[in-house]
Subunit: 357 residues, 4 copies
C-alpha cells in the first residue's frame, strides 16, 4: 500500500500554489460533511473552512464552533456567493446538488460535489453544459465529483499498472462490493444508485471508456435483506469496447466492508481489495506467480509514518505539548546502540549501561 501510494497516488510536492490558504465553504454538515470539515481542519494543507451551512442550524452551529474562524451561513447560496469563500464543498442531500453546483459555476467557484452530481442524467448533463460554457469563456474548469476511489492508493496503483501496459489489453473486470448492513429503508434501487455507482466510476476510470449496457440479475436473497428487496445483486456492464464487468453488490453480509476489483487482461491479471495490496498474476507457465510489490526504500515504506509524525508534532506543538518519543527515548536508544557497538566489537553479550530515569 505504501508502495502503491508512492508509485501512483503521490501528493504533489512543492507545487506552484499561492501562499494564502484556500477558504472553503462546506454545504451540508451531516456525517460526510462534518467529516470533511474535520479533515480540512486537521489534515489538509493550504485550506481553511471559513463557512458551513446546513438545513439544521443547530448542527451547523455545533460544527462551526469547533473550527476557529468558521462561521455559519444559513442560506447555502449565500455561502456560495460570499466574497470570503474561494471554493465550495457540497455534501448536502443529492436533491440540492443541481442548484448549488450551478450557482458555483455561475460565480466561478471551484466546487467538490459529493456523488451523485445530480438526481438524474438530464440535470447532470445540464451541469456539464453549463461548465463547458464557463470553460469556453475562461479556460478554467470548476467541477469535481467525489468519486474518491480514484484517489485510493490501491486503485491508483491498479490504474497505473493498466496504463503502463502491465496487463496487456484489459478484457474482464470482476468486482465485489459488500457492506455489513444498511438502514431499513435501503432498497435495491439504492444499491444501484449509491453502491454500484462506485463500480460504474471505477470501470470508466480503469478502462477509459464508457459503459454501453447494463444487466441486473437477482440471485436468491439473503434472509438478512431489507424486506422485499433483492440483496445480493449481480450486475453486468458491457463497455463500448466490448469489455465486461461483473459486480457482486451485497449490502447485508453481516461481516465487514469489502471492496474488491480484479482486472483480467491479455497478459496477466491484478487484484486489489484483499487488504494485502495489489496482487499481480504474471509470468509464463514455467514461472507463473502471484506477487505483491516490496517498497524500494524507507521513504516509500514509511512515508505515511513521516506524515503522521509531523502532523502530530505540529498539532502537539500548537497545544504546547509533546506527542511522540521524547529525549529519554533518544537517550535510551543511544545507550543501547553503544552497547551494541561494543557487542559487535567484542563478540560478547554486553550489558547496557543506563541511568535510572
Amino acid at each position: 500500500m505504501t508502495t502503491a501510494e508512492t508509485r501512483a497516488g503521490a501528493l504533489p510536492e512543492l507545487a506552484d500554489v499561492p501562499a494564502r490558504d484556500l477558504r472553503v465553504a462546506v454545504l451540508g454538515v451531516g456525517m460526510m460533511g462534518a467529516d470533511h470539515v474535520s479533515r480540512i481542519y486537521s489534515r489538509i494543507s493550504g485550506a481553511q473552512v471559513v463557512a458551513v451551512s446546513d438545513a439544521f442550524a443547530e448542527k451547523a452551529e455545533q460544527v462551526a464552533a469547533e473550527v476557529p474562524g468558521c462561521r455559519v451561513i444559513d442560506d447555502p447560496l449565500a455561502a456560495i456567493t460570499d466574497d470570503d469563500v474561494d471554493a465550495v464543498l457540497i455534501a448536502t442531500p443529492g436533491r440540492f446538488h443541481e442548484e448549488q453546483v450551478l450557482a458555483c459555476i455561475e460565480h466561478g467557484k471551484p466546487v467538490l460535489c459529493e456523488k451523485p452530481l445530480t438526481m438524474d442524467a438530464a440535470s447532470s448533463l445540464g451541469i456539464v453544459r453549463a461548465e463547458d460554457a464557463y470553460t469556453a469563456r475562461t479556460g478554467r474548469r470548476l467541477v469535481t465529483v467525489g468519486f474518491m476511489r480514484r484517489f485510493d492508493p490501491e486503485y491508483a496503483e491498479l490504474k497505473a499498472l493498466i496504463d503502463a501496459g502491465g496487463l496487456g489489453e484489459p478484457l474482464l473486470v470482476h468486482c465485489a462490493h459488500r457492506n455489513a448492513a444498511v438502514p431499513p429503508h435501503f432498497t435495491s434501487e439504492m444499491m444501484i444508485n449509491d453502491s454500484v455507482v462506485h463500480e460504474v466510476d471505477v470501470t470508466r476510470f480503469l478502462l477509459d471508456e464508457e459503459i454501453a449496457a447494463v444487466t441486473v440479475l437477482r440471485p436468491r436473497p439473503t434472509r438478512h435483506a431489507v424486506t422485499g428487496q433483492s440483496d445480493p445483486l449481480l450486475v453486468l456492464f458491457e463497455t463500448t469496447g466490448g469489455r465486461m464487468v461483473d459486480v457482486e453488490c451485497f449490502v447485508s453480509t453481516g461481516v465487514g466492508y469489502e471492496v474488491r476489483t480484479e482486472v483480467v487482461g491479455e497478459d496477466g491479471s491484478a487484484l486489489i481489495g484483499l487488504d494485502s495490496g495489489l496482487v499481480r498474476t504474471s509470468g509464463d507457465p514455467s514461472g507463473a506467480a502471484r506477487s505483491s510489490g516490496i517498497a524500494p526504500d524507507f521513504r516509500q515504506r514509511f512515508g505515511r509514518a513521516y506524515d503522521i509524525e509531523l502532523q502530530r508534532w505540529v498539532d502537539a506543538a500548537r497545544r504546547g505539548e509533546v506527542d511522540g518519543p521524547g529525549a529519554w527515548d533518544g537517550y535510551a536508544a543511544q545507550a543501547v546502540c553503544a552497547a551494541g557497538v561494543e557487542a559487535l566489537r567484542s563478540g560478547r553479550r554486553t550489558e547496557v549501561g543506563m541511568e535510572a530515569r
Copy 2:
C-alpha cells in the same frame, strides 16, 4: 492498513489547536530535511516553514525559493532564537544535534530532532536533564525524537493489540530489517547505529521496558557486503523483564526494503511487515487461524482516499485547476445508474443512453 490507521494511528479530530499556523524552522535541508520542508508545505495542516538553514547556503536558498514566505537564516542558532520561529525541526548531521537541541530547550522552542538525538549516551542524557529542568519550571516538554515507526499504522496497530492484551504477555520479538543496498562507506557499526537503532526503539515502544543487554553475532557475510564489513548481523536484545528480541539486520540484500516485526505472546502472535497488514495468529487447536482484519465500513477503508482527494482538490483549486473526476464523470455515472435501475426493474439487458461528449 486502513483499518490499522483508523484503530490505532488516527490523527486528532478537531483538536483544541490555536488558529494561527505553527511557524517552523527546518535546520539541515539535505535529503531528509528537504523532504520534511516539502511535507510540511504540501501535506501538513496548521504549519508553515518560515525559515531554513543549511551549511550549504546554496541548497538552503534553493529549498527556500520553493516555499512562499520562507527565508534562509545562515546560522542555525539564529534560526532557533528568531522571534518568528515557533518550533524547530532538526535534520542536520548528528554531530550538531546536541548544541541545537539544547538551544531549543534554552529558548523554550518545541523541537523535532531526527535520530540520533546526539552522538553518544552521555550527551543525550545531558539533554534529558536540561529538558527535565525546563519542565520543572514550566510544566511543558519540548523534545521529540524522530523515531517515525511509532507513527506507522501497522506498528500502531501492533502496539494497540499488545496494549489491549490481545497477545497476552509478550515473550519474544522477531525482527528483520533489510535494505537493498548501502553506500560504500557503510560499516557494521553504522548498521547498529543507523539501522538497528530503529529496532531498539520499536522494542522499547512495543514492550514498554528497557533493553538490558545486547549480543551481536556475525553470520557468514554476503559477497555483496561492504568490503571488510559483517553483513548480515544477527542482534539479540534482552529486556529488563527477560523478554528477548532477535534482529536480522541485512543491508545489502539487493532486493527491496523490508521491515518485519513479529511479537510472540502467551496467548497468540502477530506479524507486521509482509505488506499485507497485521496478521494475527490466534484461536485454540480446534480452530487455530491466521487472520487479518477487514475494515468495518467505508470511512476506514477509504479514509486515506478521502484525504488525498481533498488535498488534491485544494491544491488544484489554488492553482485554478481541477484534478479529479469532473462533471462528465458525474453525468456518465447518472446515465449508467439510470440504465441500471431500469435493468433491475425489467430483468433485461438495458442499453445506456448517453449524449456524445
Copy 3:
C-alpha cells in the same frame, strides 16, 4: 492444505477391504490413461493394473512393459469381460465411453470413467437408466465419473464448511478457470464442454442442487485467442434454488493454471484457489476478518510428508536402496542435541562434538 486434507479429504483408515488387490484394466493409455497406470502402480494401495488397451497397440505395449504383471488386451470390450479384471478405468476418447461403460454395467464391473460420461445428455441418461436397472437387481452401483475436483482437499474443505453451515445459505458463487494456453483446434464450444464442465460439477457438488439455466457472454477476445474463437467467456448459471454462479473461462492467459472458487453465503464467504488454502471471511463489523486455518498438530501438518516418506522408503527398499536421511543424519542430530542440552543447562555457547565422517 494439510488441514483441509485432514478435515475433509482424508483417506479411509484401516477400512473393511478384502485382502486381495483390485485388478484393474485401463482403457486408453494416452496422457491421462498412462498417468493413471503410473499412479495406480506407484501410489495407490490395494490395486494393480493387470491389463491395458489402446487403439495404438504400440503405446499399449510400451505402457504394459513398465508394469510387472500387466498385459495388453487389444479389444477394450474383451478387457472389460476378462475374468482377471475386477474393475475398469476408462480414459479413451469420449466417443467410445457409452459402449464401454454400458459393457461394464452389463458385466457388473465397477468403472471409473473420465469425463465426459458420454458425448450427449441422451446417451448419458441411457447409462443412468442401465445402472439403475442393475442396482435394482443387485443393490450395488458401478459407475463413477472422473470429476476429480471433488477430491481436491481445498474443494473438500469448502464443501465441508458449507455443509456445516459455516457460511449460512450459499447465494452466489464466483469462479475463474484459466489455462495458460490450449491447442490450435480448441474452440469456444470446447471451452464449455471440456473446461466449464468442471464448474458445472463443482456447482452441483457445492450447492447440492441442479443448474436450471445457462447464459454465455462473449467479452472482447484476447489477441491470443484461437482464431475466430471467443476467449475469455463469461458464463452464468442459475440453479433450481435461485442461486447464481459466474464463471470466467479463459484458456489463453499465457500465465499459468488458475482455478478459483468463492462461495458467498448469508453468513460469510470462503475462497479457494489462491494457492494459500481456504480463506474465510467472517465475523461482525467490529471484528471482521479474513482467516486461514492452522493445523492443530503435526499429524495434520506433516501427514502428507509421512505418506511420501513411507512410499519412498518402500520403493527404495524394494530396489535394495535407501532414499532418505540415513544413520549419519541420526548420529549428527544426536550430537547436536547433546550440545543443545548442555547449552540449555550452562546457558553458554556449546561446541558440537562430532566424529569426522
Copy 4:
C-alpha cells in the same frame, strides 16, 4: 503446494521395482506406529504389514486384527529375523532403537527408524559404523531415520530452490516451531531432543553442512509453561560454514501447530510455513516482490486430487461400493453443457433440459 510437490517432492513414476509387495514388520504400535500401519495398509503402494510387535500385547493384537494377513510377533527381535519380513519400521520408545536397528543391520533388513536413532551420540555412531561395515561387504545401505520434514512438499521445494541457486549462498535461517500444548512431563530438555531436533535436521538438510555450535537462550517463560520449565526457548546454531540459524521453540502456545522456516540468502529469501506455499522475495529495488508460484497445468494443481480419487475408487470397489460422482452427475453435466453450447451460439439465456431423477 501442488506446485511444490510436483517440482520437488514427486513420487517415483514406474520405477524399477520388483513385482512382489514389500513385507514390513512394524515394531511399536503406539500412536506413531499404529498410524504407520494404517498408512501402509491404506495409502502406500507395494507394501504390506505382515507383522506387528508391541510391549503391550493387547495393543498389538488389536492393530493386527484390522490388517488382513498381519500377525503379532511378541519378541521384536524375532520379528526382525522372521523370514517373512523383508523390512522393518521401528516406532518403539527410543531406548530400544539401538538394539533393534543393530539387529536389522545384522540380518540385512532395510529399516526405517523413527527419531531418535538412539539415545545418545555414541550409540548412534555405533550404528553408523555397523552399517558402514555392512555396506563395505555388500554395497548396500540399510538405515533410514524418520526425519519426515525432508519429504514435506514445502521443504522439498525450498531445498530445490536453494540447490538451484535461486537464493544465492544461504547466510541465515529463521525457524519457528510451535505446539499448542505438551504433556505435563515435557521438560525443556525434551524441547531440544524432541522438537528442536527437527530443526537440527532441517538445517543440515537445507544447508548441506554440519552444525558446529549451539546456544540456548531462555526468554521469560509463558505462564502456560510446564512448571519449572523454560518455554519458549531461543536456540542458535552456527554451522561449519559460518551460517547461523535461530529457532524459536515454543510448545505451549495454546494456538495450533506452526512450523516456519525462512532461508535468507545472498540473492533473495524464501519462507515456508504460513500455510500459503513457499513465498519468495526477489527482484531488484525497482521491482522487488514477494511471490508464490502458480501451477503450470492441471496435473500439478490437481495431482493430489487424482491420487485421492483413485484411492477412494479402489477402496470403494473392493468393498463393492461407489464413492464419488456417479452416472447421474455425468448426465447432469452433459445436460448443462448442452445448454451452455446452445447459449454460446444464441447469445441468450438457455434453460437446461433435464429429466427428473
